[in-house]
């Protein structure tokens, strides 16, 4: 198990380094002087010279990359052009907002999807099953930003239950903050639940055909005992792995959801930075999103054998 963990970690390292290089290369791909791009509109030769020296622009690309990565390692993500503050100071609060959106959404989606998928599998090829599968397919087809807008239209504008614009952070005022998070979390969870329902249903159907389920039933166990004791543990494994894949959709979805609900998260920060041509912020957001994505997937791969005995390698 420990050997497996170390191998997985070692395999992830080159991916992270190349991904960091891609982020680093992004700004070099834009035509023009990188120092000028980073500084924005200015003709101060001293400042330009300072940035050029900081970026080691006279050195080979590999040395420049090394400088950039070591600075990142020390928490120096550069300075924002449009907001005149260190990029890290912008990233940290934005990460908190995105986490408070994405984590509850994943949990909620799993809580809704796994029982529903199992239930549909139990009733395979009945009307209930068809309805659940149809709902899941529809949820796969609705863009998160449209569902978000419709939620706002219904619960915000028509029924006036939830706020339409603005944001209050959870640390500022917990209950008020929750009020602002309900609709975005619900939107994201409903969208991602579609994939999970289909997966939980498919895994359950597979498990139900195994002999040990027939054996459990033959012992005279009730259907609910079969479901909870024998089927559920084997359905959780594949679903857990799927959550890692869904996370990519969630982080991407968070970008648009944050724009719809005007939440000051990582996605919105990145989109605003793209508009402001604030390259250090764009790079910083990408570094964080990439590290979270790779990190969570690693964590899921490492924990999967614990949850799903069939995946144990040794």
């Amino acid at each position: 198990m420990i050997r497996y963990a170390i191998t997985r970690l070692a395999l992830a390292l080159p991916t992270i380094v190349i991904a960091l290089f891609l982020i680093f290369a992004l700004i070099r791909l834009i035509p023009g002087d990188p120092a000028q791009l980073i500084l924005g509109e200015t003709d101060d030769p001293a400042a330009l010279a300072r940035i050029r020296a900081e970026l080691a622009l006279d050195q080979p690309l590999a040395v420049q990359f090394y400088h950039w990565v070591t600075a990142l390692g020390q928490g120096d993500f550069g300075k924002s052009i449009s907001m005149e503050s260190p990029v890290l100071d912008l990233l940290v609060p934005a990460m908190g907002v995105t986490a408070s959106l994405v984590i509850p959404a994943v949990v909620l989606a799993a809580i809704m999807a796994v029982p529903l998928g199992m239930f549909a599998a139990w009733r395979q090829n009945t009307r209930t099953d068809t309805v659940v599968v149809a709902l899941a397919t529809v949820s796969l087809s609705i863009p998160s930003f449209w569902l978000g807008l419709m939620m706002l239209l219904l619960f915000g504008v028509q029924l006036d239950i939830f706020p339409v614009v603005g944001y209050i952070s959870l640390t500022e005022d917990f209950t008020q903050g929750l009020h602002y998070l309900v609709l975005p979390v619900l939107t994201l969870a409903l969208i991602e639940a579609g994939v999970l329902v289909r997966l939980a249903r498919a895994s359950t159907i597979e498990v139900l055909q195994l002999e040990y389920v027939a054996h459990a039933r033959a012992k005279g166990l009730s259907e609910s005992a079969v479901a909870c004791r024998h089927v559920l543990p084997n359905v959780i494994g594949p679903t857990w792995i799927m959550i890692g894949l869904v996370l990519g959709g969630l982080l991407g979805g968070a970008v648009v959801i944050e724009t719809v609900f005007s939440l000051p998260g990582l996605g919105r920060l990145m989109v605003e930075a793209v508009f402001a041509r604030d390259y250090p912020v764009v790079q910083g957001c990408m570094v964080i999103v990439m590290l979270c994505y790779v990190g969570v997937n690693l964590m899921i791969e490492l924990t999967a054998p614990v949850l799903c005995p069939a995946l144990r390698y040794d």
Partner: protein, 270 residues
């Protein structure tokens, strides 16, 4: 097969509708989709304007059609680029193996370390202003998925007897690849391409919703949704029409994709 899966027919019909709307949108629309007319601002749906008008007095139905042309062609071109180049790269990489394969895999893994939409957004900064920016950005973001699927398929194929037989017959590697391996990857490539078309359509809508798609006044479904936000309470039809269009198109693609997968799965089993 179609009889047992009526949802496949529904998918095909919806897809055909979307493509015809896109063709109609490219050729002719009832009203000029970019014509500003302040005397008919924010009109609700009527016999004259089937889906109402927007804040510039433009006919929503006409904009929906011309938006279909843009959204479908961006998604279509992205799918075409990814399918051709991704399948070639994946097949070649899986077939030759060695250091070339290792480099390709490492690079694709690095691209896959970003959620596709985030990568596409970042790519638009590099390509800012170019009319092909959305297509290239989306193609780069989705290419690794195709490369991965085709490569895995070719790798398993390489170990099959008929490939060994082709080698024994002293066929060249290139001949074996083109004559024996590529035709056998058509099914997974087609299934993947259908999913890709859906992903690209959704991502294009998301990019234009964020304002990173093609520049206005060109109509796109995502852009129309974004504009609708300011007139939310007074003109909800502005938000409903493009949303139904995107969801409907995606539903059609998903149903068709499910049908394709089942069809090829069954064929493989037979």
């Amino acid at each position: 097969m179609l009889k047992t899966r009526p949802s496949g027919i529904v998918g095909m019909v919806v897809l055909a509708l979307v493509v015809s709307a896109a063709i109609a949108g490219a050729i002719a629309t009832p009203f000029d989709p970019t014509l500003v007319d302040f005397s008919s601002r924010l009109l609700p749906p009527s016999l004259r304007h089937w889906l109402g008008t927007d804040e510039w007095g433009r006919d929503v139905f006409s904009r929906l059609l011309s938006g279909a042309a843009i959204t479908v062609s961006v998604a279509g071109m992205t799918t075409l680029l990814v399918t051709v180049f991704g399948a070639l790269l994946g097949a070649f990489s899986g077939f030759v193996g060695g250091w070339f394969d290792r480099v390709v895999v490492a690079l694709m893994d690095a691209f896959l370390a970003f959620p596709a939409l985030v990568l596409a957004i970042a790519m638009t900064t590099v390509l800012a202003g170019s009319p092909v920016a959305p297509v290239i950005a989306l193609a780069v973001a989705y290419m690794p998925y195709m490369v991965r699927v085709v490569r895995a398929n070719v790798m398993t194929m390489r170990q099959r007897d008929f490939i060994a037989a082709s080698k024994v017959m002293r066929n060249s590697a290139a001949f074996t690849l083109v004559r024996h391996i590529m035709p056998n990857t058509v099914a997974p490539v087609l299934v993947m391409a259908t999913s890709l078309f859906g992903w690209a359509l959704l991502a294009e809508s998301a990019l234009s919703f964020l304002g990173l798609g093609l520049a206005p006044p060109a109509a796109s479904w995502g852009g129309m949704l974004a504009d609708s936000r300011n007139y939310f309470a007074d003109a909800p039809w502005l938000a409903i029409a493009p949303g139904v269009a995107i969801s409907g198109a995606l539903l059609g693609i998903n149903l068709f994709g499910d049908f394709c997968r089942d069809y090829f799965d069954r064929k493989m089993k037979d």
